[in-house]
Symmetry: C2
């Protein structure tokens, strides 16, 4: 026996940012070698494929986003306060210099999903999980009477997700100023109205 030397999470996060920066297709194995510090053979030994590395990176991305999500929505504050903090976080992300590192899921969905049934299925599943989590948050807000039940949690969650997707794309062309912040604030109001 012999234990693998590399830190799996570190490697996957390096691959993640490579895929987000250059896209899956334009990230060559040489790029991945440089980013992860792993030689081609090791990558193939550990992940079978460049595609396998993408799948593993997607899984890691999901996990990272999950812990971030449950960290913010810990239930220690009113739901709407937590939701506002969540949106603030996304705004900061959009305003950071690396706008292109928006969301590996949507980026991969745009790039490879149309050609790869399995990848699309996985990404769709992850996004559906995210949507479910957001729906639960909004349902909590309704249960706590923080927002009305005029529109149900599902409809509100759909709208919020649409808004977040849109924010990220919009940020690509408007990284400057506080336009993003204003948009996020109106989005918050319209979701909670």
């Amino acid at each position: 026996m012999r234990i693998a030397e590399f830190d799996r999470e570190k490697v996957l996060r390096s691959a993640m940012t490579s895929f987000m920066d250059k896209g899956y297709g334009k990230t060559s194995m040489q790029d991945l070698k440089r980013a992860t510090g792993l030689h081609p053979g090791s990558i193939y030994c550990a992940f079978e494929n460049k595609r396998g590395l993408l799948l593993a990176a997607l899984g890691q991305y999901r996990e990272d986003r999950n812990t971030e999500f449950t960290g913010i929505f810990s239930g220690q504050r009113p739901v709407l306060v937590e939701l506002k903090a969540y949106l603030d976080n996304i705004v900061l992300e959009c305003q950071s210099c690396d706008v292109s590192r928006s969301c590996l899921l949507t980026k991969a969905l745009n790039e490879v999903a149309e050609q790869d049934e399995e990848v699309r299925g996985i990404i769709t599943l992850y996004l559906a999980n995210w949507q479910q989590a957001i729906t639960q948050v909004l349902q909590n807000a309704i249960d706590q009477k923080e927002i009305t039940s005029d529109r149900n949690a599902d409809v509100r969650a759909h709208y919020l997700m649409m808004g977040i997707y849109g924010l990220r794309t919009f940020a690509h062309t408007h990284p400057e100023g506080n336009t993003i912040k204003q948009l996020a604030e109106q989005l918050y109001e319209d979701v909670c109205r």
Copy 2:
């Protein structure tokens, strides 16, 4: 002298859909040869490059979207009626079977813009033109007292664009049902509120 035999617009529209279907990077010259009917040499003679063909296709896309836009916002009906028709059109586009053929501009922005300063500049310019046109529409609606001047046209245009971006991405994972239509309706209300 000798006149080029091919129909430039037809060729560019074929290239457009190829780029939208597979992405710029994964569209090979063989794909483009099949799609456009032009042999490699002719493509290089007419557009200098694969990249040149992309630039030309982006230009054609802009023109096509422009005529579509001015066709809908002809000023013959109340502005808000025209705006609703415009959104209905986008909804139909999102619900059509080829969801991936969403918008060449945003697709290219995601894929190549981070690597190619010039392409990003051109796409950003086109999108800015679009935003300007939408702002003008909303300003007209304000001038005609169809909506209040509580929020100015710029802010409303930003929000509408964010919503449209988001709708398109959302449609990738929810092509079915009339979720998209509901979202578009709330977006319309929130922009005009």
